[in-house]
């Protein structure tokens, strides 16, 4: 039948498959520092990609619009402010437009959606416009990463993907949007490699 149904099925399978076949984690210390740094470079490319960074913004609570279809990065249109709640509760709830659905296949320029409630990431997870060193320090700091060690970061990615949350959506964003680089599976693996290498961070 419709294109959207086919894609919906594909997405659900991808998320579910990942959840079932959870990655066998490498042993801590089994990955070289250089390989760990290379893995972080790839992680950095993912988390600063518009699909991820646009909603990992700072304390002004204003999501961004950036990416190939927007030209220069700019604040989300319509004067949107997600408030300290980060879900728009003080003003316009994100979910007024970004509805909750496992069907990621929206029209171009429509409000993207995924399988859990749309929201900004917690303010301490700020990635938009941040440097490699800043993001790296944040990712490994349990005070600013949701209290997770590297194994729990991997688990977090797998869990979110299994719910068709943003982690699954980032690589299948619908609406002719550019997906995050490489694949979800590679990103999860990179998180594990970086962790097993001792979460090495770049300078500066």
């Amino acid at each position: 039948m419709q294109k959207s149904v086919v894609i919906l099925a594909a997405v659900s399978i991808a998320g579910a498959a990942l959840a079932e076949a959870a990655l066998t984690l490498p042993e801590e210390g089994s990955i070289s520092r250089a390989d760990g740094q290379a893995a972080f470079e790839r992680i950095y490319e993912v988390v600063t990609h518009p699909r991820c960074a646009n909603c990992h913004v700072g304390a002004d609570n204003i999501p961004m619009w950036s990416g190939p279809s927007y030209g220069e990065a700019r604040p989300h249109g319509m004067h949107i402010n997600a408030g300290e709640s980060r879900i728009g509760a003080e003003f316009l709830p994100c979910q007024t437009c970004h509805v909750t659905s496992d069907d990621f296949d929206t029209a171009p320029h429509a409000a993207p959606r995924f399988g859990i409630a749309w929201q900004l990431a917690p303010v301490e997870f700020e990635w938009f416009g941040k440097s490699r060193a800043e993001i790296c320090a944040q990712l490994k700091d349990p005070e600013r990463n949701g209290g997770r060690d590297w194994r729990e970061l991997v688990e977090h990615l797998e869990h979110d993907a299994s719910l068709n949350g943003p982690v699954a959506w980032g690589w299948s964003p619908g609406g002719d949007r550019e997906p995050a680089p490489r694949t979800l599976e590679e990103h999860v693996e990179d998180m594990a490699l970086w962790g097993a290498a001792g979460q090495p961070c770049p300078q500066g």
Binding site: M78, H79, A89, F91, L92, T96, C97, S101, A111
Partner: protein
């Protein structure tokens, strides 16, 4: 598939990815919610789902959870909701096409925030486009409705 709109339960035979807007308009002949853009850029299709404002053009009907209220269920010409009464008092509408959505959004706003400031109105209502430029009267009508609701 079953859905409840303005207190009435309906059974429809549609694909689950059909947006709620088109189920309302073309399957149930409920024409208050309007098609303006199809991509959540104009707000003309705004309805309430369990009291929350939702762009019905974005919601696949298969993902609908909760009861739908459209402008027809908010108030009627004989029995206006406070927001509608304020809209009439301030003679807000020009072409009127966006106003179903504006009114539904404003009602949801006042539900969450009974006394919004101008800045809060701007933050909530800027997702609803009006090409005629009725904005000054929308602001005034929302303040007026807030006042009336607080007195009630």
């Amino acid at each position: 598939m079953k859905l409840t709109v303005n207190g009435t339960e309906h059974e429809v035979d549609v694909e689950p990815e059909m947006p709620l807007l088109w189920v309302l308009r073309d399957e149930l002949n409920i024409k208050g919610p309007k098609y303006g853009c199809g991509i959540a850029q104009c707000g003309a299709c705004t309805v309430h789902v369990d009291g929350m404002a939702v762009r019905s053009c974005q919601l696949p009907v298969g993902d609908l959870e909760g009861e739908v209220t459209t402008i027809e269920g908010l108030g009627t010409p004989e029995s206006l909701h406070a927001v509608q009464a304020a809209w009439v008092a301030h003679q807000v509408a020009q072409c009127g096409y966006c106003q179903s959505g504006q009114i539904m959004q404003a009602a949801a706003l006042l539900d969450l925030n009974p006394a919004p400031t101008d800045a809060e109105i701007d933050a909530v209502m800027s997702g609803n486009l009006c090409r005629c430029g009725t904005y000054p009267r929308i602001r005034a009508a929302i303040h007026d409705a807030a006042q009336k609701l607080s007195e009630a």
